[in-house]
Amino acid sequence: MIYKIMLGIGLTIIIIAGLSLPMVEIPKFWYEMPIVPGLGDKARIIFFHVPTAWVSVIAFISSLYFGIKYLRTKEFVNDIKSSTAASLGFLFCILATLTGAIWAKFSWGTYWNWDPRQTSIFILLLIYGAYFTLRSSIENEEKKATLSAVYSIIAGLTVPFFIFIMPRIVSSLHPDPIVNPQAKIHMNPTMLTIFLISLLAFTGVYLWIFILKIRVLNLILHHKMKEHE
């Protein structure tokens, strides 16, 4: 209960603060944020777009982790966790793609222009799509779990290639406030605090849905097992 209240408060703070706090040239008061060069008010998307991308990466890694765990232990719970993490990752990946596309429309002029970041998130969507296609095409539960775990591991291993290859093929126009060559954070404490609360709250939402889905799927599993007895 306390968890949900905290999440509600956190998300309310982000929405209100992220959208309404003024952006000025030189911040003087605690509630003012600096102007990001070349972005202006469009920079506010950082509080909503970056956390979704962050959650989709977390979900992808945890899906990989539970997949490996399933292969080692052969416990069905791990497969349930792996596929649930993947489905939530897919959802957040779509959200990140859509918010990014809307932002790109106003910053770059088009919804989609095959920027390296857009290409890599597109590939992530393709991998998720292939993963679910594979899962739906196998009937045997045990085989489905094993093969999808193997596939997610192989797919996960190719992801680093995109991180190194894509920037070399085309230069990206994507702003990098968090990870940039100078390793600097172009945010003042206010902006950073809101951003970190946002990351935390979105991760919290992910964990909440994740735990709920695991509970439901576990109940279904137990019910099925009882029916068999």
Binding site: L126, L134, Y151, T158
Partner: protein, 224 residues
């Protein structure tokens, strides 16, 4: 080393002989390549396409001919009910590397065929740096064979076999395809060899990563 090599060669010979007898994959692939190239020739008519498009089309032909040819590597074993026999007489590692070797040979043959045909028929497709082009072709073929073998093993256990194959392979092959298209373009433009070396390193790394992970994971796919 020899101890591991002999059963791998034996498995390769078995596949090779059955392929020579039926020529199922080879005939289908040759026809596939000829049809595709003629469709492209009709479509471009008398135009001279730019290098980017020529490089892209070549690898699209190679990708889809691999997708239609390699799919049967493990499905044929399932259909003929010879999976059990292989389980009894050999280890999973032998099966994986035997199939990889067979796929590699098949791909080398078909890629040589399609590249020669492509060079002869395509207007404007003249290679100015043969060294880059040949190494691209070799590394691309090796990478394609390693990925298509492990995905073929995965889809052999599913219900919708043929259609699933390109769907699963494409996201995994994409880094390789982007690289080979880039270096093919470099070869057409007549760049110096040094300029393509980083791309070749990525391709070699790709092959090593995929083959090692397949080697480690093949056990789980193969055992029921």
């Amino acid at each position: 080393m020899i101890k591991y090599l002999i059963p791998i060669i034996a498995l390769f010979q078995k596949d090779f002989k059955s392929e020579i007898r039926t020529r199922y994959a080879l005939n289908a692939l040759v026809m596939f390549v000829i049809t595709t190239i003629s469709i492209i020739l009709f479509a471009i008519a008398y135009e001279t396409p730019p290098y980017e498009i020529l490089a892209g089309i070549l690898w699209i032909i190679i990708f889809f001919s691999a997708m239609s040819g390699m799919a049967r590597t493990f499905i044929s074993e399932e259909e003929k009910n010879t999976v059990m026999t292989l389980h009894i007489i050999t280890t999973p590692i032998t099966v994986y590397f035997g199939k990889l070797l067979f796929n590699l040979v098949l791909l080398v043959v078909i890629n040589c065929f399609s590249t020669v045909l492509y060079i002869l028929l395509m207007p404007n497709f003249s290679i100015k740096s043969p060294d880059i082009f040949i190494i691209t072709l070799i590394l691309g073929t090796i990478g394609l064979a390693s990925t298509s073998t492990i995905i073929a093993a995965i889809i052999a256990k599913s219900n919708t076999k043929g259609t699933l194959y390109p769907v699963l392979s494409f996201p995994i092959l994409l880094p390789l395809l982007l690289e080979v298209i880039k270096t093919t373009k470099l070869a057409l433009e007549g760049e110096y060899f040094q300029k393509a070396i980083p791309d070749f390193q990525v391709m070699i790394a790709y092959f090593i990563v995929i083959t090692t992970s397949s080697y480690l994971l093949f056990d789980y796919i193969w055992k029921d």
